[in-house]
């Protein structure tokens, strides 16, 4: 007498109506097949229970319409490679507006300090210790001579290996609601705006940055030799140490002009933003071994670092939570201010044409800049809700 194979018995348990009637008839009459089916059923039940105990794999899965729309929006963000933008890139220096100059002063914090201390980083590796999370901002004066001196510093590649695991991409979204969904963070909008802001509003979300940097003493020595340059030896504690930066997403809101050109040079006819608001989670820097002080000591000993600048950075009392903001002393000035009830840093250009303010609150960094006096920028900043 033939018996049903395991495959047929297994399908009988799940889809009895889809199995052949002859197989069902045999099953009804065959005690051995029913016993085997019971064994297979018990095994299937054990698998189902394992999934059920794991919880997350078997929870209710119907996605509501709002969540589905959010998922579609996030998928579109992935698809939006073509419109990757470059916020703050100095490609169009000749046409900078006062706002751009102020923003450049704010953003050059990243250019100077992040370049050497915190650079791009990324993912991976257990055992990272958080060594830097900016909770306050401190102006660092940069003179024109300092700037020209810094231009001769070696690239970061000379000190180790940079691995960019996720390139930030920018997506133009419809408004704050979609931006909040795509960025997965709460967003603030200004309560009131100066009457002379008329232009269109653009909301953009820049996806998170994900890069890793590993110091290498041998690579540093080799690149120094290739450049016929004497670099200070890398301390043992730094060699092989890996940094990871977790930054973004960054949400920008621009009024009266978009923030950057999309893969094309900016033309004179392009509108410059009348106001820019930037919101982002606090960036975080982690290290497998090296401390901020160790990195700082090494970087500040590099040839080309102006002694006055090095002294200013060394004077920062808590380097693990203070982000130095380089301020070009010939173009702008900076002062500590109170904004949204916390301490922030205001930077204004020396002609009084534009100003910007940066602060952090509840785990997020905020920046507001525009062609207004500092007092007006502060009013806008304080109106964010």
């Amino acid at each position: 007498m033939f018996h049903l194979d395991d495959g047929t018995l297994r399908r009988l348990l799940d889809e009895p109506q889809s199995t052949l009637s002859s197989a069902r008839a045999h099953y009804d009459q065959c005690e051995l097949c029913r016993q085997r089916a019971a064994e297979l059923g018990a095994t299937a039940e054990a698998v189902a229970q394992a999934y059920a105990r794991a919880g997350d794999g078997t929870a209710r899965e119907a996605t509501g319409q709002p969540e589905l729309s959010q998922a579609l929006a996030r998928t579109r963000l992935r698809l939006n490679e073509e419109s990757a933008f470059d916020i703050g890139a100095g490609r169009e220096r000749r046409h900078r507006s006062p706002v751009t100059i102020v923003l450049a002063a704010l953003a050059s914090a990243a250019a100077l300090v992040l370049l050497f201390l915190f650079t791009p980083l990324g993912t991976v590796a257990q055992g990272f210790l958080t060594i830097f999370e900016p909770h306050q901002f401190q102006a660092v004066a940069i003179s024109p001579m300092d700037r020209s001196s810094l231009r001769y510093l070696p690239d970061l590649d000379a000190y180790g290996t940079v691995r960019e695991l996720a390139r930030p991409r920018s997506l133009l979204v419809s408004g704050p609601a979609q931006a909040a969904v795509v960025a997965r963070m709460p967003l603030r909008v200004p309560g009131g705006l100066p009457s002379n802001i008329h232009g269109p509003v653009h909301w953009r979300v820049m996806s998170p940055e994900n890069v890793m940097f590993t110091f290498s003493a041998s690579k540093t020595a080799a690149s120094a030799a290739a450049r016929h340059q004497a670099l200070p030896p890398m301390p043992l504690g730094l060699d092989g140490s890996t940094l990871q930066i977790i930054a973004g997403p960054i949400v920008t809101t621009t009024f009266g002009g978009d923030v950057v050109p999309s893969k094309r040079p900016r033309h004179d006819s392009d509108e410059y933003p009348e106001l820019i608001i930037v919101q982002a989670p606090l960036p975080r820097v982690q290290s497998t071994r090296a401390s901020v002080r160790q990195i700082e000591d090494y970087v500040l000993r590099q040839p080309g670092i102006p002694p006055r600048l090095a002294a200013q950075i060394r004077a920062i009392s808590d380097p693990t939570s203070t982000l130095p903001i380089p301020v070009p002393i010939d173009k702008a000035s900076a002062q500590q201010v109170v904004v949204q009830g916390v301490r922030g840093l205001a930077v204004g250009d020396n002609t009084g044409v534009g100003a910007g303010v940066i602060w952090q609150r509840d785990g997020y960094i905020y920046g507001v800049a525009g062609p207004f006096p500092e007092s007006e920028v502060l009013i806008i900043a304080n109106s964010l809700r």
């Binding site: 194979d5 395991d6 495959g7 047929t8 018995l9 297994r10 399908r11 799940d14 889809e15 889809s18 297979l40 095994t43 299937a44 054990a46 698998v47 189902a48 394992a50 999934y51 105990r53 794991a54 919880g55 997350d56 794999g57 078997t58 929870a59 899965e61 119907a62 996605t63 589905l68 998922a71 579609l72 996030r74 998928t75 992935r78 698809l79 993912t123 991976v124 590796a125 257990q126 997965r184 963070m185």
Partner: protein
């Protein structure tokens, strides 16, 4: 595929293609997430897999025929999830941790959960992942597809195998999984 690429030069056809993509997304998103969840045991990671799969589908300009599209999406979901599971255990755990931390930060729903329950669930999830990882890819795939709710006909199409083979593969996969789960349980 050539036909689709050709029609995309026509703006109205592009709109139609996008509409079709949205319709497909609406119809298949839950399915794709469910399949990935049966492998990764983590909702947020499964949602990331779904995004990756749909984005790849759109970029590659696959046919919008619903049956073929669904088959492609299901296969891509299970293989992408299995690749993540097998690629790097430490990386998986870190990403899962990040996703959970993100969820804890941004979802008030999680605040209602009992920490002990969450901990136990995480341990069970790790055991299921470990067991799946030790199975052959075919067995892990058939389990993920079946326990995500796919029919035998759909599983056969996704795995490109005969309908009569599905029950056999599933029964063997379940037996192997049960054995593995016993070996990884404390």
């Amino acid at each position: 595929m050539n036909k689709m690429l050709a029609t995309e030069r026509d703006p109205s056809a592009t709109l139609l293609t996008q509409n079709r993509f949205e319709a497909l997304f609406a119809n298949q998103y839950d399915r794709v997430v469910a399949i990935a969840r049966r492998v990764l045991l983590d909702r947020h990671m499964a949602e990331d897999v779904a995004q990756e799969v749909f984005a790849a589908f759109y970029r590659n300009g696959h046919a919008a025929d619903p049956t073929r599209a669904a088959r492609w999406l299901h296969a891509a979901a299970v293989h992408t999830a299995l690749n993540i599971l097998r690629a790097n255990r430490r990386r998986f755990e870190r990403e899962a941790g990040d996703a959970r931390a993100h969820a804890l930060l941004h979802s008030a729903v999680n605040q209602a959960n009992n920490p002990q329950t969450i901990l136990e669930s995480r341990e069970q999830s790790a055991e299921v992942r470990a067991a799946l990882k030790r199975l052959s890819p075919k067995y892990a795939a058939v389990l993920a597809l079946r326990y995500a709710g796919l029919s035998y006909v759909e599983i056969a199409a996704t795995l490109d195998t005969g309908i009569n083979q599905v029950g056999t593969i599933l029964a063997r996969a379940e037996a192997a999984f049960k054995k593995e789960i016993k070996s990884v349980s404390p």
